[in-house]
Symmetry: C2
Subunit: 134 residues, 2 copies
DNA sequence: TTGTACTGTAATAAAAATTATTACATATAA
DNA sequence: TTATATGTAATAATTTTTATTACAGTACAA
């Protein structure tokens, strides 16, 4: 598992608590990762309509919608991996009665697990998450 | 995220549906990964008391307990990463009011998410999972 | 109309994590 | 006492993640 969700959530938290537009450089300084990586994640958040950007001088990024209307589920959705609990990169042996079926059953399980996960994350708005900060 | 959970679940499924002991070589053939990796995962499952092994000729592995008494939560527990939804490897800027607090809030969130996850996985026994196979 | 400060993105390099391989010690059944 | 297992360490290969460099495009403002 990689660091995309924490970074996306950090970005959204910064934007939520800021009064004005923020630059990717500033956010990279808070998160402490490379600014190109931040812009890549921002580009993804923009595609998913959670963030707006303004190019040019004095440009930057803001939330596209009120934080009370954005849930953590939506943020997770933008970085969600194909397989919640991990994906092996092998192809199980099709000659084995278990091997040939297991991927389908794991996929089915993951659908359920994802549902439970999204339900929990859907319970918390970005506003509520940020309200916990001092 | 890595492939440890699918591999552990594949191992447990094979052991559950087998009538006799299975060798790590055989399981590696079904999963289609290196047998040393399988033995490493088995070693971990043994530590967690889900699997028993017998060394020497005609040795191999079996479930340590009836499959009706093992839940998918217990299997996941053996491979669980520190951070369910991913861990960034940076140290957020302690001079930033958001940066200095975010890790604690992410940790708190992960505790809750993990609870939801374990609840869902605790609902399914290994026996029930394997019963879905033809 | 030109310099400055941004976003957007591609290409590449560096670093880290995962998986495979090799090697061998140890156990046990036949 | 030989064959076939487990157990585990060390190392190599591969893949993934993150950082860096470079530069095109946009918009403000002097």
């Amino acid at each position: 598992m990689n660091g995309r969700f924490p970074i996306a959530l950090h970005i959204m938290t910064l934007l939520c608590s800021a009064e004005r537009m923020l630059s990717s450089e500033y956010m990279a300084g808070s998160i402490n990762v490379n600014s190109v990586l931040v812009r890549k994640e921002l580009s993804n958040l923009i595609k998913n309509k959670l963030v707006s950007s303004q190019e040019g001088k004095n440009g930057g990024y803001t939330l596209a919608r009120p934080a009370a209307q954005i849930t953590l589920a939506e943020i997770y959705e933008t970085v969600k991996p194909e397989a919640v609990l991990g994906q092996a990169k092998n192809q199980p042996n099709p000659a084995c009665p278990i091997g040939k079926q297991i991927n389908q059953h794991i996929t089915d399980l993951y659908v359920d697990v994802d549902k439970a996960l999204m339900q929990r994350l859907g319970n918390t708005t970005l506003l509520a998450f940020v309200a916990k900060f001092n």
